[in-house]
Amino acid sequence: MPIYDQTYRKYEARGPMRSVRFWPITREALRLLLAKKAFLALWAACWLPFIGFVIYLWGVTQFAQAPQVAEMLPSGAQVFGRYFHFQILLVFILSTFGGAGLIANDLRTGGILVYLSRPLTRRDYVAGKLGVLLGLDLSVTLVPALLLYLVALGLAPDRYLVWSLAYVPLAITAYALTLSLSASLLLLAISALSRSARVAGIGFFGLIIALDIVRGVVGAIYRWPGAILLSLQANVQAIDNALFGIEERAYSIHWAYPAVVLTVLGLACLLILRTRVRAVEIVR
């Protein structure tokens, strides 16, 4: 029997075009990622600092006397800022493993044509891929930090349930978005420049480390506080310090400078994405 004796139904139920067209891209990529046990383990590992901070808060509030609690817990919103210090590197690692192949693999296997020949714009495609990384990164920054805030309110209401700290949820949201967007855009841009997930991953993580080393060397030689502007990690940490009131001598520069650097970096990444996705369409 010829293979084509099998048939399929006619599909005539074309409805109006979806308004949120990027969602299937995000959902399917997340599904594939979370199906990998090793990746799930990595994601779970990113919650370890949260567990550590909860234990710390619980221990201090349970076992220390009232005056000691004040000494052992950082003042104001600093505890959340300190928590984010741990998350910066974890976010970079999680992004590397989760997102290095997002565009690179599509370029290598021609999968990008599957997207671009559909009723999707290039913006939908990039938004779908960005959604994957933002989803991952926010799940280990925004979600645990807000939970930590709730835990802090529950365990030490006299220290944290005060008007002066009412801005903390907003600060957490703003910082989690800053960190996640910076890492996601940079990684996507690097992924779009390569056809190999491995090269993109090494490129991204190598760039982060290399820039931090350059920042350290330049800062040490010239004693110039502006050296932090050379490093992505230092820029986001400077924003973190500014938002949560942490004072560190190495980060004494005004927060507006790192904010400008991160904005310019983000725009440059968007430009790369725009150019690369367009170029693929034409060259192929």
Partner: protein, 312 residues
């Protein structure tokens, strides 16, 4: 042209597209009618550029193109929604099974998730991958990858199917099966399709109409039956004796010829008839042992359109 374009699915008029300084399409005009149409031409002729312009990927420098009455430049999403595209290059998403991949393609085309999953299974059975649909596409052979590419183009039941070199990399048996499948899509499912290929036999096997591209221009277009139909001026001739003088004399009379497996195919000029062949044979001392009105093959049309002269 006006008649031809009345029911055309796709029309293009004075279309010019360039990649920087390179002109890929030079003021081309034509139309794709409902049914199977072949898009022929050597590499770099402009076939894929036309398909990409039709999908709204490229913006023309001049001229206009329309599909289903829509402008692919200003309404690319509406146009792509009604088109299924099977690219020439390999295309799959790493780590995905065929069923997940085809369902995902359906969803990207705007289908609800449940419907897309259900149709993915049907379409994979249709293209002959029913048993292998839960395997990841990365593990497929070239032939299976071609079929899954066809399935992802079919899943949303498009009004027009663009097939870019669908038999690339297939062995003879796989090629025959793929062509059978394409013929079935066109004949039984009444789906219009554009078969872009450099293989004349593939186009001849499937298509009713053809557009030949060369150097970014339309070199010939029309129904294959008309382009290759019987012509009084083409004859298959077999002679006994030394044919060299006979052929030289025919050339002197302005005729052209090609050598076949068993004789010659002689192209007479307008106003000439078979009596010229008999007269020339008599003058050259050869006997005409076989004479039959011939038909132009698609290859003749193709070569002629490309400016390759038959031997003269």
């Amino acid at each position: 042209m006006a008649e031809m374009t009345a029911a055309a699915l796709v029309e293009f008029q004075d279309l010019a597209v360039s990649y920087g300084p390179v002109q890929a399409l030079v003021s081309v005009s034509g139309a794709f009618l409902p049914g199977p149409t072949g898009l022929l031409g050597p590499n770099g002729a402009g076939k894929t550029t036309l398909l990409k312009t039709l999908l709204g990927f490229l913006t023309p420098d001049a001229g206009r193109i329309s599909a289903f009455g829509l402008d692919p430049i200003s309404q690319p999403l509406e146009v792509r929604r009604r088109i299924g595209y099977m690219p020439e290059v390999d295309c799959h998403l790493p780590g995905m099974t065929a069923s997940a991949f085809v369902a995902f393609a359906g969803e990207l085309s705007g289908m609800p998730r449940d419907e897309a999953i259900s149709r993915a299974h049907e379409v994979l059975y249709y293209v002959g991958l029913g048993e292998a649909r839960y395997r990841t596409v990365d593990t497929y052979s070239t032939g299976m990858k071609q079929r899954v590419k066809l399935a992802q183009a079919l899943v949303h039941d498009p009004d027009l199917l663009l097939l870019d070199e669908p038999t690339n990399g297939l062995d003879p048996e796989g090629r025959t099966e793929m062509l059978d499948l394409i013929r079935d899509i066109s004949a039984r499912r009444q789906m219009s399709l554009i078969l872009c290929s450099h293989l004349l036999r593939d186009v001849e096997a499937v298509c009713e109409n053809v557009i030949v591209f060369n150097l970014g221009k339309v070199a010939a277009q029309g129904a294959i039956a008309e382009l290759t139909g019987p012509r009084r001026s083409v004859f298959e001739v077999r002679v006994k004796g030394d044919p060299a003088g006979f052929l030289t004399d025919l050339k002197d009379h302005g005729c052209e010829w090609t050598e076949g497996e068993d004789g010659y195919r002689v192209f007479l000029t307008d106003g000439q008839g078979p009596e010229l062949l008999f007269r020339t044979a008599r003058e050259c001392g050869v006997q005409v042992r076989h004479l039959r009105p011939g038909t132009q093959s698609l290859e003749d049309v193709f070569l002629s359109a490309l400016g390759h002269q038959v031997q003269a």
